[in-house]
Structures are given as C-alpha cells and as structure tokens.
C-alpha cells in the first residue's frame, strides 16, 4: 500500500542504516570522559579555547535572534501607532499585550482564560494520545500482516484522500458542542500522520535483522516486539512532531466549528468582533503551548532513540 495523497511518510532523520557507518576503534569506544582539568597541558588549553568559542557563537546566535524579534515587533508597533498600517487590520503589539493581560486579570467573555486553555489542551492531548496509539498499533499490525493491508489498502487510501478537516462538521453533528467532537477530529488528523509512518517503518525493517531474530528462536510476537517495533520507532517519533501540530489544529478547528469553551472559540469571537488583537493574542497562546509540546516530544525522542549514533559532536558540550 502506498500513499499518494495528502499524508505521506516522512523519513526519519537518523535511519538505522546510518548506524552501520560509524565504527569506532576499540580505544575510542569509551563514552566521552570528562575533559582534562585546565592546566599546563596544551591540549586542555586548546579544549578550553574551543569551548569558549562555541559559547561565544551561541551567545551571538541568540543575540541576533532577539534583535530580529525586537526589530519586527518594534516596526509593527511604530507603523501601527503612526498609521502607516491600519491598526484595524493589523492590531498592534501593545494592544495584544494588554489584551492578554486583560484576559489573565479579568477573564474572557466566556470565562477565565485558564479554563479556555485547559479545555483546548485537554482536547489536544486526548486527541493526540488516541490518534498516536491507534496509528502505531494499526500501522505495525498492517505492516506485519500483508494480507490484511492488501485488503484494506483502497479503503485507507479513500479515507486519506478526503480533506479530513471537513470531518469536523460531521463530528459536530455526531457528538455535539462538547469536548468529544474536538477530540475525535484531532485523533483522526493525528492518526493518519502516525499510521503511515508506523506502517512504513514496519515495512522497512532490515531483512537481516528479521532473519537473525528468527534463527535465534523468536516467534512472530517476539519478532514484532523485539525487532519491528524498535526499528519502526525512529519513523514513528519523526511523525509525532507533525502529529502534535495536527492535534492542535484538530482541537482549534473543532472549536471554530462550534463550541462552548476553548481557545478556538476565543479566537473566533475576537474575529467576529473585529478585534485583531484578540485573534493575535489567541495565536500567541497557541504557539506557546505548541512549542512546549515540541520540546517535550524532542526529549521523548532522544530518550527512545538513545541507541542511535548521534551526529558526531566533539566532547564536552554537555554541561
């Protein structure tokens, strides 16, 4: 089964094949030991110098980033204040800030801000969890059972080719204005992203590893658990980054289509009131928790894929 429509598998960054190309001499095999203490040793001095350079570079990169952001926001503020751009459309940074502050202090038109964030967060996380679990399980199962995947291929392709965002309306009818219609939409969006990657990952397992496991005595279940799942993990974790974006999209779009609470509703109401600052404030909040989630997923990925070789960085970067 191949995917020729909206969702296609993304190749993981560090494929297992790359693991074979990084042999180290026995002497080099020891994990990075701490650097020698700075002293008369010229190598230690050199290492310290390299480290100083690296720190300087990192500071510079961050400084330029902050500067860019400041320039952008400053320009926006000035242009909106002086009338160079129409504040009615663009809003302005100070307006967004005071809107956020207002929401934090006095709550929004449909209740305290935290309630809105919490509702959307719940929908996102539940949808994400359900979609990921279903996607991984079905992807691996279909990846292993050729007959089943051959039978189901046309159905999955058809489902995948529907613009899934439209299902939001269907779910609103089925489940009403509560949280479950948003969770379902988010889960469906997440599912397809994860499913195709898990499926592809299960199919791409090194044949030697499969043969080796079988000869060593593993039955089907053990082959799946010990070889297929770990091998597909790098594909799956790659898809999680995109999938979380889908989960937020599902939750927010679901709310736009009809809800009693949530960030999507907040944004929708601001839009209806021609309040650009409200719309942008909603976006800022969404971005903050999307970034937080991205960080958590990256941590998870590092933990799960510890066994993969890292791109060779010189030792001593970790403090």
């Amino acid at each position: 089964m191949t995917t020729d429509s909206s969702t296609t598998p993304t190749a993981p960054a560090g494929t297992p094949a790359a693991a074979e190309t990084a042999p180290a001499a026995p002497g080099d095999a020891a994990p990075d030991t701490q650097e020698a203490s700075p002293g008369n040793d010229p190598r230690a001095a050199r290492a310290a110098q390299v480290r100083r350079q690296r720190i300087r570079r990192r500071v510079l990169v961050n400084a330029v980033r902050v500067a860019l952001l400041a320039i952008f926001i400053g320009l926006w503020q000035v242009m909106a204040s002086t009338g160079a751009v129409d504040e009615f459309y663009t809003g302005k940074p100070s307006g967004i800030c005071s809107k956020l502050w207002d929401w934090i202090r006095h709550g929004t038109s449909q209740g305290p801000l935290w309630d809105q964030v919490w509702v959307t967060l719940q929908e996102t996380l539940l949808g994400f969890a359900v979609g990921v679990v279903l996607g991984v399980v079905l992807g691996i199962v279909l990846g292993r059972l050729r007959f089943l995947s051959d039978v189901l291929a046309p159905f999955i392709k058809t489902l995948n080719s529907i613009p899934r965002i439209l299902l939001g309306s269907v779910f609103s009818i089925w489940f009403g204005l509560g949280i479950s219609s948003k969770v379902t939409l988010a889960a469906v969006l997440v599912f397809f992203g994860v499913f195709f990657n898990a499926f592809q990952g299960a199919r791409e397992v090194d044949r030697n590893l499969l043969a080796n496991a079988r000869i060593l005595g593993a039955g089907n279940t053990r082959v799946t658990l010990h070889v297929v799942v770990p091998s597909a993990l790098s594909w799956i974790t790659t898809s999680l980054h995109v999938a979380f974006g889908f989960a937020i999209t599902g939750a927010i779009v679901g709310e736009l289509l009809g809800a009693q609470q949530g960030l999507g509703l907040l944004i929708f109401q601001a839009q209806a009131n021609f309040d650009p600052n409200g719309v942008y404030a909603g976006l800022v909040i969404t971005a903050v928790f999307a970034l937080a989630a991205e960080g958590l997923i990256t941590l998870l990925e590092k933990r799960l894929l510890r066994w993969q070789p890292r791109p060779q960085k010189s030792s001593g970067t970790t403090v």
Partner: protein, 272 residues
C-alpha cells in the same frame, strides 16, 4: 551427520543445480566459489529459511523443513540489534527461547567473556568497532549452542588484520561446542586456514566442482599456518580448481549488464 541436496529452478533462473555435499558431525567445512555463484542461497537452504525446489536437506538424518533450534547463522552484514545493549544482544537467543531473564543474562556474560568483551555489556552496537560487533554476533549465535553453524562471509566487512584475529577467535569458540560448520567465503586463504574440508563450487548455477581435505594439524594458528609449505601446496592445488570458475564468472559480469559487476547486484540477481 549428512546434508545432501539437489536443487534447480529458482524461478526461471537456476541458482543451484544438482548441488550435493555432506558435512560430518563437528567438521569445519569451507565453501568457496566465485562471486554470486549461489553460496548464500546454499546456506539459506541448509538453515531452512528457504526451501529447495527439488531435493532435500538433511541434518542428522532429519529432513529440514523450516527453521530448527539446532542451527546458528552468522550473517555477512551486521545483524546485531542496534537498539539492544551488547549484553541484551547476546542474551537475545536464550530469551527468545524462553530462558528466564536472570539465567540468560548470566550466560550472556559468560559468552561475552569468551569473546573478550567483558566490560562492554552496557554499550550499544554503534559504539563498537566492526570487529567488536562481529564478536557480539558470534557470541549471540554461539550462546544457543547450535549443532550446525552456518557462516555467510562473516568477516568480509573487516580489515585484513582484524579478519585474521577473528579467524583465531572463531576457531577457539568452535572448540568449545564443536558444531558442524559451513563457512562460506570467497577468500581461499581464509578457507584453507580454518577448515577441515574445502568445497569448490562452480560459477552459477552452482554445483560442487571438487572437494579437498585439509589435513593440516589442529589446533592451528590461522595466521601462521599460511606460511607453511603444506599450506602453500594446498593453496596451489585448490586455486587451480577455483581459477577457471572465477574467470568464467568474471567474464559473465563484464559481458552482461553493467550493474551486475558489483557482488551485491550479482547475488541479488541470482536470488530472484
């Protein structure tokens, strides 16, 4: 113990034709032949991973019909599990076969000692050198105490020095459990220095051309034995037999399609 088979017709292309040889219990047999002649296919047939179209494989008088627990296989490419630590890799066989965790780990530690990897238990394969990974693979296979050990050019990815050290280690491991070995290689020196018997295959479709007994004394040092007069004499005799096949196979690869020149492509082709 005897193994014998006759096998033609792998689809529309004969990989093996009427190939037939036997390996005594505890005997170390090396199979040499030109690139892509069907050596790997022969091993898959013995292991039970694939089945012959005609003929049969017998291990201990029993017809081979699928994988059995008596067979061990060391692959040409890295086949250790990259996500498992060294010790978990070695313990995998017993664990797959239902040995309790503690017991399996103790046994694995034992075997790691035998291949000189004590102290590397918690490492992941990518942190090891090619030779060390190969030793993990050996321990992983030998821990199951196979009675038939199949090896498919196991050391071909290693540099010359490491290769010779690995040959040494292989012989001493072999001495522990004394399985019957079928060792496929295209390196004639390696074959003679390790084996009791060298079987020369013809350029595909493969069949047994000649079989030579290697009556060099054991225990051997594969590195030093290469310089003895008996070794040189044997090498000459067997090379005489092998040369024609190698040349034939080479001529085919240059006159057929260009992509068949690499060994991988040639092997893949014959397998279809």
């Amino acid at each position: 113990m005897t193994k014998s088979f006759t096998t033609p017709q792998g689809g529309n292309h004969d990989v093996l034709r009427d190939i037939n040889f036997s390996v005594e219990a505890g005997e170390f047999t090396a199979v040499v032949g030109p690139t892509g002649c069907g050596k790997s296919t022969t091993l898959s047939l013995i292991s039970g991973m694939e089945r012959p179209d005609t003929g049969e494989v017998l291990v201990d008088g029993q017809l081979v019909d699928g994988l059995t627990k008596d067979v061990g296989f060391v692959f040409q490419a890295d086949a250790v599990f990259p996500w498992k630590t060294v010790i978990a890799n070695v313990a995998a066989g017993p664990r797959f076969r239902g040995t309790p965790r503690k017991e399996a780990l103790a046994e694995a530690a034992d075997w790691l000692g035998r291949v000189g990897l004590t102290g590397f238990e918690r490492y992941h394969p990518h942190q090891l050198s090619g030779g060390m990974r190969k030793r993990v693979a050996l321990a992983q296979t030998m821990i199951n105490r196979p009675r038939v050990l199949l090896m498919d050019e196991p050391f071909s990815g290693l540099d010359v020095q490491t290769r010779q050290i690995m040959s040494d280690e292989l012989l001493s491991l072999w001495d522990v459990t004394r399985p019957s070995v079928v060792f496929v290689t295209h390196d004639l020196e390696e074959a003679i220095s390790l084996a009791d018997k060298v079987v020369v295959l013809t350029a595909g479709p493969a069949t047994v051309k000649e079989s030579f007994d290697i009556d060099l004394p054991r225990p051997r040092n594969p590195r030093e034995i290469r310089h003895t007069a008996e070794f040189v004499k044997l090498h000459e005799r067997i090379w005489e037999s092998l040369r024609d096949e190698v040349q034939l196979a080479y001529r085919r690869t240059v006159s057929v399609t260009p992509e068949a020149v690499t060994p991988e492509a040639a092997t893949a082709k014959t397998r279809d």
